[in-house]
């Protein structure tokens, strides 16, 4: 990952903290994610994501030493093989696409472009787009702000608001779509987990 403020500027110590903070923010929210998913899905999002990020924490030493593209590839492969279900494939696709596009020393512009490619990979994998009560409802506005020069404060705020904005949406994708009208009134768990990760990443880059 690169700094939304410009330049990469991540040594192994900061990379380690970034990975650990993102992982812990997801693991700590496992119960909340499961409760959200129980309301409109199959109720396994928290446990699945927790399993994935615990696997990442278990490999923290090796991951911290990797250059950005290799790190993203390793995270994608890990999530893909441990999370399971649609979210494993979606987050796996996100990080694998990020790995493909991210240069070893990304600039802000190249990081934003890589983020855009990663969001496109999620679009393609989920056959979905903005406004369908999915993680894309968070990823797409974040990408827009990232690409147009917004700072970490703006990105954090947008991610949080975007996750909340999924509450009144009628789900037309995934398991939640089976509920029809009853999907209205609940936050999408994938949007929430995406917002959590973005928040943890921004917190890291805001600490200067």
């Amino acid at each position: 990952m690169t700094s939304p403020g410009g330049g990469t500027g991540l040594d192994a110590g900061r990379t380690r903290k970034l990975i650990a903070d993102v992982a812990r923010s997801v693991i700590d929210a496992a119960d909340e994610l499961t409760a959200l998913d129980a309301a409109i899905g199959d109720g396994d999002h928290g446990e699945n994501m927790k399993r994935g990020f615990e696997a990442i924490l278990a490999d923290l030493d090796a991951l911290s030493a990797m250059p950005a593209p290799e790190l993203c590839r390793a995270i994608g492969a890990k999530l893909l093989s441990t999370v399971g279900g649609a979210s494993g494939a979606l987050y796996g696709s996100f990080f694998l696409a990020l790995a493909k596009s991210l240069p070893v020393e990304p600039s802000r512009a190249s990081a934003a472009a890589a983020f855009g490619d990663a969001v496109d990979a999620v679009r393609a994998r989920g056959k979905s787009d903005f406004g369908e009560k999915t993680m894309l409802d968070v990823l797409i506005p974040v990408q827009r702000i990232f690409a147009t020069g917004g700072d970490v404060v703006a990105i954090r705020q947008a991610a949080r608001k975007a996750a909340e904005a999924t509450i009144p949406i009628l789900a037309t994708r995934g398991r939640a779509s089976f509920l029809g009208e009853r999907s209205i009134g609940h936050m999408d768990p994938g949007a929430r987990s995406s917002a959590l990760m973005i928040d943890a990443i921004c917190a890291q880059f805001g600490e200067e």
Partner: protein, 129 residues
């Protein structure tokens, strides 16, 4: 002549195995067949790695048709197909069909020596109405 392989991917290992039993009852050992169900921790769900392994097991030069149940099974199966070596990728399809009926119809068609295209079409006819 090689017959199209069938892969059954359910969130539940019991559903996948049961569907596979029904396929075997129809076509015996004539058709390469593999099934998988459950997430990487063994609970209900699907696993990309297990699906990739099932595709390898049921591999046939004539191709492989995958039958899935709910969303995650489809998403993970499509991911598994895309990660295959290029020469295999074009010969594996995820069918838009009900899992049990689709698997039985697809396997029966395969046993008759039909092409991957035809096997898929027969399975997908079940979703047409």
């Amino acid at each position: 002549m090689a017959k199209v392989g069938i892969v059954i991917v359910s969130h539940s290992p019991k559903v996948a195995e049961g569907a596979a039993d029904m396929v075997r009852q129809m076509v015996g050992e004539e058709v390469p067949l593999a099934w998988t169900g459950g997430n990487p921790a063994g609970g209900l769900g699907t696993s990309y790695e297990a699906i990739s392994e099932a595709i390898r097991k049921a591999w046939s030069e004539a191709g492989v048709a995958i039958l899935v149940d709910l969303g995650g099974a489809e998403t993970n199966s499509e991911m598994a197909v895309e990660m295959l070596p290029a020469e295999r990728r074009a010969r594996v399809v995820v069918c838009n069909a009900p899992i049990v009926e689709g698997a039985v119809m697809a396997a029966t068609e395969s046993a008759g020596g039909s092409s991957l295209e035809r096997v898929r079409a027969v399975a997908e006819e079940l979703s047409a109405n």
